[in-house]
Amino acid sequence: MNDPLNVVGRSVERSDGIGHVTGRTVFASDHVVPGMLHLKMVRSPLHHARIRGIDTSDAERVPGFVRALTAADVPHNRYTILGLIGVEPEEEFVLAEERVRFKGEAMVAIVAETEEAAYEAVAKVHLDLEELPAVFDVEEALKPGAPVVTHWGNNTFMYEGHPCRRVRLGDVEAAFARADHIVEGVYDTSPIEHAPTETTGCIAVPEANGRYTVYTNTQALYFSLDNTSIILQVPGNQLHFVGGTVGGGFGGKVDVIVEPIATLAAMKTNRPVRYVYSRAEEMQVSSTRSAWRIYLKDGVTADGHIIARKVTSYADSGAYSRQTPYALTKHAANAAGPYAIPNVSIDAYCVYTNRQPTSAMRGFGVTMASFALEVQMDKIAELVGLDPWTIRFLNAYHDGDMKPHRKLAEDATLIETMQAAAALVGHDLAPDLKAMTSAPRGRRGEESGRP
């Protein structure tokens, strides 16, 4: 691009480069505070159970033990991360109450002088649990009689009265009836860990002025601060969150799991408290990318135009939904793909199971839709006898096309991007494909080709 810009558009050296290559960059867990206590969590050994009793008396006798925190110690123990933007209901427990809903759920926070003492005390907390039946499959969870994970009686997140996020454009059934082919597919993906090299963690430090400084690797400082303020029922101005440099996030550090409990522990002990996930906790307890099951049904004309697409998606939210309800909406907004399809019906379900909770991850709700849609496109191409390039050009959206969620497409450049990819790999596109542009249909004399 030839704009008269000085700095934008130039590959300047990273401003954090020297810090990173010398190791001088300070990450959250690099703060070492004198007198720092260590927090380790007693976690549920079962996927689903009723809590009959928790006995910390042996743990309290471990040398170096300082404090045990249970649900009763947390001022506003039931919360939901997205409550900040009005999402309801409050559904997750900072520390488990009455039931545990996934293996690894936080039950008792142990604070001790050393990590070793904390581990030893954790091992000496006795749990009295009554195991309950658990459910791990999204469609099993929706069947009558399935174990109920939530506290409201069914296993779906409710979207304004619907058990799923709906998108409707045109008349899918009528279009299926006149389609030459129906192409159906079921796509499954399994949960994925963010695996940042720096695990999630924070250090909460009581300050002289009655405030608490929290060094954290959250991806969203105010999100963490505001949720901590709600959970601990303290004014936000009592909290000072410091971070901004994150050792890999990928969405995993948008949750607010470590800060509230570490800050509470700092309040209760008046000592700095460090709570940093072990790698095993990061993998087995922290949120993952949801597993998805996506049913696609497409109505296609003999010449390869997709005239109807029906999508039924289930995201396995795990025991608590965190950011996943939002992912379903983003999924629903994008589940038809970068294609112009006049009749679309999307039902996207956020389903609770007894699995570790899920949340945001890079590509939030879209990555797995793209997998399903783009494999489906190849199946359609094969069925109608077109090559994989042509089928995509034929159906690509243009500026001004109406998307299923009824926003007109703008900044559409799929066609140009595919042309560039073909050129990159030396694939010779047919002249008509080479000549296409994403400009609004009807201009440049281009045929819309819609049936």
Binding site: L169, T245, T353, L373, T413
Partner: protein
């Protein structure tokens, strides 16, 4: 031992930002006495290079050198509110906020310079290298650093700016799903080449070649970094990663990097890309978001390439060697 090769493609779009709750970012800028500028944010840098690109956008807007900008992402006491770094939103949202803040600071700078140079504000221009001059009269020029010092010691003025950008909340129609969820769309098309060992089901990804359209690139090297890292992550998602290897069964969940499989340096394919720049209408200097999308198109491209190589369709991720081998067995058992 037979090895089969195949090629697959995939094309995707990806939205920038998400605003179902309102999506604000804010920025503050102030000049130090030496004429460098501090940008205060509460947005975070995950490694994608936010501090660098925001520094570039601030420098561009202020008309000073990039090296004069300090970006602080550290602190809720000093950084104004920001939703956070996710949804491919940071460069777009924070960039717009920083432009607004920089324009305000720039105006303050111009007003002081106008007094000092005894020229009207609209007669003044920046040379992009930390000097202000009267248009067409290079002799009547003053350093930004000097203006910053004069502002504070002679004129008693602040050189500062506040900036905010918010995509207003869009409510979703519960019946039709009508909504305005994002600001713009970036695009990608990936071509993957694979080789499959028909005895073991092992997939070797030979190359991942992509075209991207990401609006304006603020820093092309950082864009390339996202594309290369995302290609690797996409390959990793396609073939290796899972916290539940036998999903939906919860058994054998990994606890370390031995069990949680991700490709290492020895699995690295050839990664190549070309980047188109078609500026967005609402991003800072035409930016679109690229942070998240780079893992997306490689996944179906690889899965489609495996089908092309073997004739086996695998519709569940990750595509393990066992799934391919069982598919090949089934295909051998029922010759078409």
């Amino acid at each position: 031992m037979t090895k089969l090769r195949g090629t697959g493609i995939a094309a995707v779009n990806y939205p920038t930002g998400m605003n179902l709750g309102g999506d604000p970012s804010q920025a503050l800028i102030h000049a130090t006495t030496s004429g460098s500028f501090v940008v205060s944010l509460s947005a975070t840098d995950l490694g994608q290079g936010l501090k660098t690109v925001i520094g570039q956008i601030a420098a561009e807007t202020l008309g000073v050198e990039f090296t004069e900008i300090v970006v602080d992402t550290a602190d809720t006491d000093t950084g104004p509110h920001d939703m956070g770094t996710f949804a491919s939103r940071a460069t777009h949202r924070v960039g717009n906020a920083v432009i607004a803040a920089a324009l305000e600071a720039r105006q303050a700078l111009l007003e002081v310079a106008s007094e000092e140079l005894e020229a009207a504000v609209d007669e003044l221009v920046f040379d992009g290298h930390c000097n202000l001059m009267v248009k067409g009269v290079p002799a009547r020029s003053v350093k930004v650093a000097d203006i910053a010092a004069l502002a504070q010691f002679k004129y008693g003025r602040t050189i500062a700016g506040r900036g905010s950008f918010m995509k207003p909340k869009s409510t979703v129609d519960p019946e039709t799903g009508a909504m305005d969820p994002d600001s713009t769309e970036a695009h990608a098309c990936t071509v993957a080449d694979v080789e499959v060992d028909t005895e073991t089901g092992e997939v070797r990804v030979l190359s991942i070649r992509s075209a991207y359209e990401v609006g304006r690139q603020v820093n092309p090297a950082l864009v390339q970094g996202q594309i290369a890292g995302g290609a690797w992550m996409g390959m990793s998602h396609a073939l290796y990663e899972t916290t539940a290897p036998y999903y939906p069964a919860p058994d054998h969940s990994p606890k370390d990097f031995s069990e949680y499989l991700m490709p290492g340096p020895l699995e690295l394919p050839e990664i190549e890309c070309v980047v188109l720049e078609m500026p967005s209408s609402n991003g800072p200097y035409g930016v679109k978001g690229i942070g998240e999308m780079t893992a997306n198109s490689p996944i179906p491209a690889i899965v489609n390439a495996i089908y092309h190589a073997t004739g086996v369709r695998i519709d569940s991720l990750p595509v393990t060697p066992e799934k391919i081998l069982r598919g090949l067995d089934a295909k051998r058992a029922t010759p078409s």
